[in-house]
């Protein structure tokens, strides 16, 4: 879920913040230049100085503004620093990389073709490829785990990827 939401949130927030920075910068430049050429305030209210001289630190609007700034800041820090997998997985010692998502889809498809596997999901993080495999118990869990692990090891070795394969097998509960 976070893999889908976070990139979208990061792009949205950074686009909004970039537009806000651009607008703030343009407004500041216009106001300073306008003051220098003697036009006075152009965009910001003319009584801004008076307002600042009357607002107090514990006024409701002032406190709410600081709270809003804090919330936006915290969300930005959280979204920006949340760990995310890279878009590409490098091959050993080269300038060649495989795109992560197509590789995950490809490995999932190959795992799903294994005997006894009903569903497979593959996630690649930094240095690790992790497969979660659902089995229908036509084969034992260990057989499925070994087969899936072998497939991942083969994919990692033949493609010279710097990834450590891990397999997790989910089986339906046994009925008596």
């Amino acid at each position: 879920m976070m893999r889908v939401l976070l990139p979208v949130a990061a792009r949205l927030i950074s686009a909004i913040l970039a537009i806000a920075m651009l607008c703030a910068g343009v407004v500041l430049v216009i106001e300073v230049v306008s003051a220098w050429v003697g036009h006075g305030w152009v965009i910001l209210p003319a009584d801004l100085h008076t307002r600042f001289a009357h607002w107090h630190w514990d006024d409701r609007s002032v406190v709410l503004t600081f709270v809003a700034l804090g919330v936006v800041g915290l969300v930005s820090v959280l979204v920006g620093s949340w760990p995310r997998p890279p878009l590409t997985v490098p091959l050993d010692n080269s300038d060649i990389a495989i795109e992560r998502h197509p590789l995950e889809v490809s490995l999932s498809r190959r795992l799903q073709a294994l005997d006894g596997v009903t569903r497979a999901r593959v996630r690649i993080d930094r240095g690790r490829v992790r497969a979660t495999v659902d089995t229908n118990r036509r084969r034992s869990d260990d057989d499925v785990r070994v087969a899936a692990h072998e497939l991942l090891v083969d994919a990692v070795t033949t493609n010279e990827l710097q990834l450590d394969p891990k397999v997790e097998v989910h089986a339906p509960p046994r009925t008596s």
Partner: protein, 201 residues
């Protein structure tokens, strides 16, 4: 290429964290004053006076030009950073550079042979796509010393090193020979895809 997006996303995330930390610092400082947990930050910011008190007002009026220049610099900086940050959201433009081909047939003949970069990249793409292992190829041929950037959609069942040795390296060697350039290491992004049986026989 995804690798360029990777770098841009990383830069965007760093920007988000820096901007977020700045906002949190301002927010915490303001709330400390608002709750009177801290009495003052210097003489100009006092929890028991207005946001702009007499000290602050005197400071502003005493250094009006300096504050205006400072505000202008901050404004220009914010606008430039905003534009730069917005630009990272745009897809990268593929730039193809024209290449000068040495006149190997008759070196005495005057003139220059120049091949359009777009034509070179199309030729390279066509050669790569001629292989049954490659579904789609996109190439970016830059300056002579710059690495060639490739993005390849390949058959997922074929090991990547095999595709590189059987398809990519011969094509690049041919291009290097035509252009008379040294063996420049390419930058390649690969997308493994499931080819239908009608494509691979």
């Amino acid at each position: 290429m995804k690798r360029i997006r990777n770098a841009r996303l990383r830069a965007g995330r760093v920007g988000l964290v820096i901007f977020g930390v700045a906002l949190v610092v301002v927010s915490v400082a303001g709330l400390l004053l608002a709750t009177k947990a801290v009495r003052t930050f210097g003489d100009a910011l006092d929890a028991h006076t207005a946001l702009l008190n007499t000290h602050g007002d005197r400071l502003l009026r005493g250094h009006e030009l300096a504050f205006q220049i400072g505000t202008l610099v901050v404004g220009l900086l914010l606008a430039a950073l905003g534009v730069r940050w917005l630009a990272t959201h745009l897809p990268p433009v593929r730039s193809q550079r024209d290449a000068a081909v040495p006149n190997s047939a008759d070196a005495q003949l005057p003139g220059r042979n120049v091949v359009a970069g777009s034509a070179l990249s199309r030729a390279l793409q066509a050669q790569l796509e001629a292989s049954p292992l490659v579904r789609r190829a996109r190439a970016e041929v830059g300056a002579p010393d710059d690495p060639i950037r490739l993005r390849l959609d390949i058959d997922e069942s074929t090991p990547v090193p095999d595709v590189l040795s059987q398809v990519v390296q011969p094509a690049l060697r041919r291009l290097d020979a035509i252009l008379g350039r040294e063996d420049v290491q390419p930058i390649i992004d690969i997308r493994p895809i499931h080819l239908t049986s009608s494509r691979v026989e």
